[in-house]
């Protein structure tokens, strides 16, 4: 018996959200008096895998196969199934991201396991196995009770702070018998947004709406984002007007983000926009209209013209950084 957790990495370095998932799994393991086995796919240095012990993993199962270079949901599901069988896993944790949302449901369907998708708290074991998750695009939470023997959870990234402890995990190879059909999806081309912070993983986000007037004004937001080390986002009409690429569009029909800080500039705060960002820990709104609905969803507000305020904010950040 164990708690299984799928960890993701970039070129052998584990992502922060995966460390968060390991820590989350460790909490469940402690409450259910069992251990944590992390599953890592690809070529990763042993030292990096052993270090997952500092976040609560006792063991790491490493699956390597040249064909696993890219994420393929069917192949990854096979990996997780093999690991689940080997460990007799009762709880399987993944992330609520593009990887976890493809693997965890497949795994759950295969195992006949209940799935809590997008968990924002530890399971409550006092009433069985009840997991809190966001619903209605962040407008509310639901408590999902899982009744099957095996339970699958995807954790919403950036829910818990990651704390490094002590310990080292043992590393074992995981043998998986793949069939050619597992690799029927072929990845032909990968285009990574270069240099910039990926929006889905960003802790700080600077976002612009129609109040920015046009793409030629975006440099003031980009300057602020650069100073903060933040990613940039936008409202839907901005993407629809091709001022910004569609992958920056957040909201009900765009991306959902939960950064620590969301700075909304010239965005009115329509309910469909809020749906994508209301999980942000702190919201700053800059708008020239005191009646803009966004102010009532904000922690901090600045009233005035974006083109004047944002450069001042950028200067203030610069000054602050120089003093720290």
């Amino acid at each position: 018996m164990s708690v299984l957790v799928l960890v993701e990495h970039t070129n052998g370095a584990f992502k922060k959200k995966s460390l968060e998932a390991v820590q989350y799994a460790a909490h469940i393991a402690k409450e259910t008096v069992t251990s944590v086995t992390a599953v890592a796919v690809g070529n990763i240095a042993d030292a990096a895998m052993q270090e997952l012990g500092a976040y609560g993993a006792q063991k790491v199962l490493n699956a390597t196969d040249a064909r696993l270079e890219h994420f393929i949901s069917r192949a990854y599901t096979k990996v997780m199934l093999a690991a689940a069988q080997k460990e007799g896993a009762k709880v399987i944790v993944g992330l609520h991201d593009t990887v976890g949302k493809a693997v965890s449901p497949r795994l759950a369907a295969r195992l006949g396991a209940g799935l809590a998708a997008g968990a924002v708290a530890y399971p409550d074991l006092s009433k069985g196995f009840v997991v809190k998750k966001t619903v209605f695009s962040g407008k509310a939470f639901a408590f999902v009770s899982i009744t099957s023997d095996v339970k699958v959870i995807t954790l919403m990234p950036n829910t818990f702070a990651v704390v490094k402890g002590e310990g080292s995990a043992t590393v074992e190879k995981l043998d998986v018998s793949f069939s050619d059909a597992d690799f029927a999806v072929q990845v032909k081309e990968v285009a990574k947004a270069s240099g910039a912070v990926p929006l889905s993983e960003a802790e700080l986000v600077v976002s612009g709406g129609r109040g920015m007037k046009g793409p030629e004004n975006w440099h003031v937001l980009e300057d602020l984002a650069k100073e903060l080390g933040a990613a940039t986002a936008c409202s839907r009409p901005v993407a629809d007007s091709h001022w910004r690429p569609h992958n920056e569009h957040v909201g009900q029909t765009g991306g959902t983000i939960r950064p620590n800080l969301y700075i909304a500039v010239g965005i009115s705060g329509a309910i469909q926009h809020l749906a994508g960002v209301n999980g942000s820990k702190t919201i700053v709104v800059i708008n020239k209209d005191p009646e803009a609905p966004f102010f009532s969803a904000a922690n901090y507000g600045v009233l005035g013209d974006a083109m004047e305020i944002v450069p001042k904010l950028t200067e203030a950040v610069k000054k602050f950084k120089a003093g720290h």
Partner: protein, 247 residues
């Protein structure tokens, strides 16, 4: 090519969410239900484009729900498509929804199953991948572009921090999102035609739920916005550092 589009009825995006019965049920009083935007704007419209281009022969749409789901699937029929199917089951947890759709899909044999990237009410983003597993099919999630030629799909999909282009021979399950097509508005002719198009009601398969929602909770109210003078950005930075502790 036969396409099945999964249509999920969801509360209108402007709905004020409220709960009843001691916070155990979503209160539907006064709520208008619409087609989940991802299902309508992207999955369904793209399927219709395939039909118009002569690539698809049949476009079917399916919803899992009781009779109250019918007005929504009728709206889908008004946009186009050949046949609507309602599987007469409570849309319980994602597993039962996926299993019901998979059972039905087996009886027809679709080349492609399209669904939305997530439902805007329960935000699971799970049904598509589950259907794929239950039908032993390949799955590509978060597709922003989808083309089919000679039985092979080419998909541009979102990945962490970028996008990638995949190819896969059909059959295939795809979850769809922004970028794939432009939203359409049903016209009068479509609405009239929808009245005569078949809406098939299929009995549910014996499938039991493995999870259920036992309670809801509203997020804590924001404590109120703190306004800062436009001339004092140093104060804002200091609050973000010392009070909010985010920079």
């Amino acid at each position: 090519m036969k396409i099945l589009v999964c249509i999920c009825p969801v509360p209108d995006t402007t709905t004020k969410v409220a709960f009843a019965d001691n916070n155990t049920h979503f209160s539907t009083a006064g709520v208008t239900f619409i087609i989940n935007p991802y299902d309508e704007w992207y999955a369904l419209v793209r399927a219709l484009e395939f039909k118009e281009a002569g690539i698809a022969t049949d476009v079917h749409m399916v919803t899992v729900g009781k009779a109250d789901a019918e007005p929504v699937i009728r709206k889908a029929l008004a946009l186009g498509g050949d046949e609507a199917i309602r599987i007469d089951a409570e849309s319980g947890d994602t597993f039962t929804v996926a299993a019901q759709i998979a059972e039905y899909a087996k009886t027809v044999g679709y080349d492609m199953v399209l669904c939305g990237k997530e439902s805007i009410d329960y935000n699971n983003g799970s049904v598509g991948a589950m259907i794929a597993e239950l039908l032993d099919m390949n799955y590509i999630g978060f597709a922003a572009k989808l083309d089919v030629a000679s039985g092979v799909a080419t998909v541009v999909r979102e990945i962490e921090g970028g996008e990638e282009t995949d190819t896969c021979a059909l059959p295939l399950v795809v979850s769809c999102q922004k970028g794939m097509s432009e939203a359409r508005i049903p016209n009068m002719r479509g609405i009239m035609a929808a009245r005569t198009k078949p809406l098939k009601v299929v009995a549910s398969a014996a499938i039991s739920a493995v999870s259920s929602i036992v309670a809801y909770e509203m997020p804590p109210a924001k404590s109120g916005v703190k306004m800062i003078s436009a001339d004092n950005m140093d104060e804002l930075v200091s609050l973000l550092h010392n009070e909010a502790k985010v920079i």
